[in-house]
């Protein structure tokens, strides 16, 4: 965490250079380069099948890149496409289980249930939860280790308006305490108020991320890139 990049808000947490990834003969990511620093919020937009979820899995270390280099510093939290929980356990038991695996004090589970608005449902089995509640619990699970880098794949999907506000608040609070955040989303409006850097992934190639664009500029750039693919 000592690598200070010029013009960035803090130490570099993630340095990705020329990363590619194939599935069989199909190349899903081409030459992706990206740097995330402490306190950065980077949004990745892109049409379906552009490689966004694959990129997050590669960044998290769950998939091996077939080319390029990734250097990651600090702890990591991931909210993936799937919630990464146990349906037969309660919300609290899930958080306590993953806490124990990481050697984290189990008391943090209750604080996180409170932070994502699930205290009342803490003793209910996850299998009985709505999609939105599962998403909130997945976010709490990703925050257990107080991550330096938080990777969020479609975190707003399935959330009601209150849930969107809660999550945006969580991202804002994490950013302010120095966490680097990468958000994959289809709805830029959910994160526009965070003034993120925005990258657009088209056909596995990452364009950007460009700093500080407003929503209209992002939409215009997205249309240009996707329509001219």
């Amino acid at each position: 965490m000592s690598d200070q990049s010029p013009g960035s808000p803090g130490p570099t947490l993630l340095d990705v250079e020329g990363v590619s990834r194939r599935f069989g003969y199909h190349t899903v990511l081409h030459d992706v380069t990206l740097r995330i620093s402490s306190g950065d919020v980077v949004v990745l937009l892109g049409p379906n099948g552009a490689g966004k979820s694959t990129l997050l899995r590669v960044l998290a270390g769950l998939l091996r890149p077939h080319g390029g280099r990734i250097r990651r510093e600090g702890t990591l939290g991931l909210v993936g496409h799937r919630p990464m929980l146990y349906g037969a356990l309660t919300a609290r038991e899930n958080l306590q289980f993953f806490s124990r695996l990481q050697g984290i004090n189990g008391g943090r589970a209750d604080a996180l249930l409170d932070a994502v608005g699930l205290v009342g449902a803490g003793d209910s089995r996850v299998r009985t939860f709505s999609q939105g509640m599962i998403k909130r619990l997945a976010i709490a699970r990703a925050l257990l280790n107080d991550p330096d880098l938080l990777l969020l794949d479609e975190p707003f999907s399935g959330l009601d308006d209150h849930g969107v506000d809660v999550l945006r608040g969580v991202i804002e609070q994490r950013r302010d305490t120095g966490t680097g955040v990468v958000v994959v989303t289809h709805v830029f409006g959910h994160v526009a108020s965070l003034h993120p850097r925005t990258g657009i992934l088209v056909g596995g190639a990452l364009h950007g991320p460009d700093p500080g664009e407003n929503a209209d500029a992002v939409r215009a750039r997205y249309r240009d890139l996707v329509l001219h693919e």
Binding site: A60, G61, L62, L63, R64, L76, L78, G80, H81, R82, P83, M84, L85, Y86, G87, A88, L89, E93, F97, F98, R100, L101, Q102, G103, V126, I134, R141, N145
Partner: protein
């Protein structure tokens, strides 16, 4: 070392808690075991095949297939909502994950065998009496062998489309040596002879235990990669 044991115990305790709640694997395997033991007993020609001659094979065929029902479910709880990714991200070593899963599978299969042996004794009217501790030793050693390989193979096939078909196809060839040894040792014991009369088979079973547990622990990491 203590981290490895602690993580393995945490994983095993979680599995046992989930199984205690649902009781799916143990009850399915136990019902299956009772059915197979009773079918094999009833279907034999009592005038040609004495129950005692059939008993060792019946016991181990039943336990092997009943164990497969439990092993097929070993990683389904991780697969349901993608929890395996969170385990991998938590930094737990593959060996700890294997040992945790191995421990919980041993508990499930052991529970089925614990209920199955009295039913076996009841059906086949076998004189196990003083040889019960030796029979339990053979049971534990055989179970360790096939649960270790079964846990490894279950992790390999869980992501495939035909996992429930693939596991028996892959596991059965590995079961042959320990099950053959177990059948011979059980026949020795039910014949009223001491375990030392089957010392060669016992050594073979011990060798399979050491080889299977060691190789499965070492190879488990490869099953977790993409």
């Amino acid at each position: 070392m203590s981290d490895l044991v602690s993580a393995a115990l945490t994983i095993a305790a979680k599995d046992i808690r989930i199984e205690w709640r649902t009781r799916t694997a143990v009850i399915s395997a136990l019902v299956f075991a009772i059915l197979v033991l009773s079918i094999l007993y009833v279907a034999r020609d009592a005038t040609a095949v004495p129950a005692l001659a059939l008993a060792p094979s019946a016991l181990w065929v039943t336990f092997s297939f009943a164990a497969m029902i439990g092993l097929n479910r070993a990683f389904l709880t991780e697969n349901e909502l993608g929890a395996m990714d969170a385990i991998r991200l938590s930094g737990v070593s593959p060996s700890a994950l294997f040992l945790g899963k191995f421990g919980s599978n041993l508990a499930f299969v052991g529970a089925v065998e614990g209920f199955g042996i009295p039913i076996f004794v009841l059906f086949y009217d076998v004189p196990i009496g003083v040889h019960l501790p030796a029979l339990l030793l053979v049971t534990v050693m055989t179970t360790v062998a096939f649960v270790s390989v079964g846990t490894l193979l279950s992790a390999m096939v869980v992501q495939t489309r035909f996992a429930e078909v693939m596991l028996p196809v892959l596991l059965l060839p590995f079961l042959i040596p320990p099950v053959v040894a177990a059948v011979h040792l059980t026949a020795v014991l039910l014949g009223g002879r001491p375990l030392s009369a089957g010392l060669g088979w016992l050594k073979l079973l011990a060798a399979f235990d050491v080889a299977f547990v060691t190789l499965s622990t070492l190879l488990f990491e490869a099953t977790l990669s993409e």
